[in-house]
């Protein structure tokens, strides 16, 4: 194995260089679904950060004991358990938001970022590194979602976190509330992100 990346690099890779949404285009379903309101986005982010970190940590802790052939079953079980816990806690302590998010909390289970990190990182790496990798990736995801919500909520509702920030007479862009608005915003962000990324990166490995 080439020289192992440092802890800071592991963290920053997910946050920026290999950003799960902008670079790997993963977790798009929830990105499109919950970003029309900032509150929903923040709760979704908290849920995802918890699930990714805990799943990566658990998978990494169990990596020497889990039989190879059933590892994906085990990962799914671990991820599903943490998501159900998140769902129960949101329902108990934030009933209003739980309703606004509807099925999307339970759908964190199917977010590819989580299993992606377990499969590609946590199962070959020590626990602390896996936790950091999960934290970086989920924060990278959160950052993108917050950016999208920051564009969609004001344009779609004229508000931010429920507070009116655009004048009363502002004509709301209904398309920003709907899925197409999310696609446009996301596409735009991916474009900007690609523009700032070093272009010759891919060629080096040839």
């Amino acid at each position: 194995m080439p020289n192992r990346p440092g802890k800071k690099d592991i963290f920053l890779t997910g946050l920026w260089k290999d950003n799960p949404v902008l670079r790997q285009i993963l977790g798009i379903c929830s990105t499109l679904a919950v970003t029309n309101l900032m509150v929903n986005t923040l709760v979704m982010n908290a849920g995802l950060i918890f699930t990714v970190c805990m799943s990566s940590l658990t998978v990494s802790l169990l990596k020497n004991y889990t039989p190879m052939r059933i590892r994906m079953m085990v990962q799914t079980l671990i991820i599903a358990s943490y998501v159900i816990i998140v769902d129960i806690l949101i329902r108990a302590y934030m009933p209003d938001i739980s309703e606004a998010l509807g099925p999307y909390v339970a759908l964190i289970i199917t977010n590819c970022i989580i299993m992606g990190r377990c499969e590609s990182f946590a199962r070959h790496n020590p626990p602390v590194a896996s936790l950091l990798d999960g934290l970086g990736m989920s924060l990278g995801y959160s950052l993108v979602l917050i950016t999208i919500a920051f564009i969609r909520e004001p344009l779609g509702f004229g508000t931010l976190l429920g507070f009116r920030i655009l004048p009363e007479g502002f004509v709301q862009w209904t398309i920003m509330i709907m899925a197409p608005g999310a696609f446009f915003t996301l596409g735009f962000l991916v474009w900007i992100f690609k523009y700032f990324q070093p272009r010759n990166e891919g060629k080096e490995t040839k």
Binding site: A33, V34, N36, L37, N40, L62, Y65, T66, P67, R69, I70, M73, V74, L77, I78, S81, I84, I85, I88, L89, R91, A92, Y93, P95, A100, L101, G102, P103, G156, F157, T174, I177, M178
Partner: protein
């Protein structure tokens, strides 16, 4: 063979561990979740009966207010709620559960109806799977408040109690604003709510009076 047995035992143990963990979290929070649901329903019932409730009221006070002014009665399989004025004698109105298929899944709500069953006192939806920000806006006040004061009469010959039409195109008093961008949810609400109101007037109205 030994490998397979090991896999099964491992899977069994890890499932046991996580299932217990979830059960524990669920057990610790169950009471709270249940209270949330009860309080939510009570708040909805008070709202559709147009009984003023302070915004920041605590759950305990809300439940106290509810038990003082609301009585439930069972008609068939449905639970109806009778709301009383503060003197606890005069009937303020009835809260009737309504529901039907929405665009994505079932929608459930509550309608407040005046004691003479001539008008709507209030309306609120509390359970749905509509798109957040679009069809999900049926829970917002601007939408449900339009129904206040809506005249009620049994439907005859293709008429409706109310219609949901695009904003700004209303010609008659029973034409209310639909939700922009959520045409499917709006028409679903129009269909089942008309039916439910009509059903109440025809089937329930008589049996409430008998029960009292």
């Amino acid at each position: 063979m030994k490998k397979q047995a090991l896999s099964i035992v491992y899977m069994f143990l890890i499932t046991l561990f996580f299932a217990s963990l979830i059960s524990a979290v669920k057990f610790l929070n169950e009471a709270k979740i249940e209270t949330n649901q009860i309080v939510k329903l009570q708040r909805i019932i008070l709202k559709v009966l147009d009984i003023p409730v302070q915004e920041a009221i605590s759950n305990e006070n809300l439940t106290r207010l509810f038990t003082a002014q609301i009585k439930d009665i069972q008609i068939g399989k449905k639970t109806l709620y009778i709301g009383y004025e503060e003197d606890r004698r005069t009937i303020r109105g009835y809260a009737v559960p309504v529901g039907g298929p929405g665009f994505w899944g079932p929608i459930e709500g509550m309608v407040g109806i005046t004691p003479d069953a001539k008008k709507v006192l209030g309306l609120a939806f509390y359970k749905h799977n509509e798109t957040p920000g679009l069809g999900g806006r049926i829970t917002e006040d601007w939408f449900s408040d339009q129904f206040k004061g809506l005249p009620l009469y049994p439907i005859e010959g293709g008429q409706n109690i109310f219609f949901l039409t695009p904003e700004g195109t209303q010609k008659r008093a029973n034409e209310l604003d639909a939700i922009t961008g959520a045409t499917n949810t709006s028409s679903a609400v129009e269909v089942f709510l008309n039916q439910e109101l009509d059903f109440f007037l025809r089937e329930f109205w008589g049996s409430i009076e008998e029960k009292e």
